[in-house]
Point group: C2
Chain length 336, copies 2
Amino acid sequence: MTRRVTLMDVSKQAGVGVATVSRALAAEPHRDVSPATRERIRRIADDLGYRPSLAARALRTGEYRALSVIVPDFEWGWWEPVVRSAYNAAEEHGYHLLVHPVGERRGGAAGTISALSNVPTDGVIVLGFSASREVQNAAAALRLPVVSVDDTEANPILPTVSVDNRAGGRMATEHLLSQGRQRLAYVGNTWAGNFVDQRIQGFRDAHDSAGIEVNDRLILRCENPWDDPPFTFKELDELLADGVRIDGMFCEYDRMAGPALRSLRRAGLTVPGDVAVVGYDDEEWAKLTDPPLTTIRQPYEELGALAVSLAIQAQTRPVAAERRTVVPTLRKRQSA
Amino acid sequence: MTRRVTLMDVSKQAGVGVATVSRALAAEPHRDVSPATRERIRRIADDLGYRPSLAARALRTGEYRALSVIVPDFEWGWWEPVVRSAYNAAEEHGYHLLVHPVGERRGGAAGTISALSNVPTDGVIVLGFSASREVQNAAAALRLPVVSVDDTEANPILPTVSVDNRAGGRMATEHLLSQGRQRLAYVGNTWAGNFVDQRIQGFRDAHDSAGIEVNDRLILRCENPWDDPPFTFKELDELLADGVRIDGMFCEYDRMAGPALRSLRRAGLTVPGDVAVVGYDDEEWAKLTDPPLTTIRQPYEELGALAVSLAIQAQTRPVAAERRTVVPTLRKRQSA
DNA sequence: TTGTATGCGTTATCAT
DNA sequence: ATGATAACGCATACAA
């Protein structure tokens, strides 16, 4: 391992001062350096294999030009496209994006943010967590601005970008109703959460507009059956066994579709013939279910780009702790 | 935004020199500082909200204590658990792990590595790319050691950690044969690649051991049907329509299972009754197919941990450009 | 247009 | 056990 090539080396080789070299190598052509020398110096730097020291630069400028995004690593999938778009957006701003999965062992989102004291970063984007005080405090302790994505708390305490879940629920339901389906089930998880309430609210909204009454018995809260046979939703199995008829189903999120489709098939119902099914999230594998899943697609690209732009803004001037809402769209496939 | 708290501030407050403060705040108790002052200084630092400057530290020590992992962002899914285990392993070594998705626009793996000149990092782990000369050169230009994961080239030019695909293919096939299945199809993608050859070789190995002849007509190379109805594999549809009987199927990787299962169902075949199906990768959603997919699980945890350990080693002493192989396991579910 | 000199905050070396 | 100080490599204010 030879010593690293520094500005000094380049300057000596070029027979000019380090300042000139620094200016010549600046990203955007510096006004105080002749194109000729700029060109000459850049060539020499290249020949010598010069690479700027990020540490030295950051020490001098006080910024790393990097953002960190905290992702929930126990929930695979949905956040990937957000990270992707954030990465691209960051790049366009000349920033790098560092991705940090939250480990159970790492004390959740707040713990992961605290660990960022050892990561060179200028700002934090938190994906998919309700931004509690703890998150806010952890970031404040590091003097890092935070932006939250997909936090569905009623009153955000941070600048927040999120999707209109109520509109999404409504959209899914309207799609089902518009096909003449009348007896719709809502198949949700057992957990509670604002986004759940919002999607159900959308479900109700659509019924109201259509003048159809919601049968509360069809609003199901199901236990995860993912690890034990027969991998169906027993709540749904029982409902169907009781002879309750449904002709449409809105799954709280795509992952509910696997067990739900199995329950339907087990009950001898076809999709979409007997029952039309709509999911939520448009995860990559939604096209792999049988039949391919019609679903609500979150505007992942917007989410990522917006979050990055807010995070960069927040570095210089405070950004209001208010919610920016983006709207989902319907992705039609074969299940409804 | 007030000025940041530095060692100087702490030292003045404590009435000691900066060196003492630096020693007192070192991660592992420094031998040259009394426990009393150590304790006192740490408290003061805490009170003042002192955070070390990573830039200054890195400038001084010459290392960031961070590794970068390059992941193929166009292939969702399989690498997630590897990143997770790598993250944990890195943490145990006192390192941070930075995750970098490769963008199409970013010039592939090599391009993404080059972009790391703007990322504070001490080493690179490349996931899921055949480590070409380009990758090697890109890393060399940055003077960063590289470790490759899941590169299936015959002769690795980098330290490489990979899974025994031949053993995996054999394992999947033996599982099918052991159930008395005799007419097995191999359902693969149209692409070529060493890992494909290896899995097929394992498929053949198992047949050889069982004294069963492979019917080459049953080795299918199918076009992706993921974006167009009817979302089945037409190659498989045709085979079945021709009246060819199969009773078992090995999918080259889990994602092939969606269309394959649809093809089977469309042909009126049940799974696993008529046809037993085994996948490869054990992706998260493998449990969502109907029936839940029996599959070959790659030892993701080992892959990540091993890669990190090699990358850290490579920082100090050269690590041989040889392949370390780990073995997959069978994950039994309902499809076979 | 270019060169010189300073300081960013830390750790390590050398005194004491 | 502690303190003073040099050096890491860069960007910039200021001088030329």
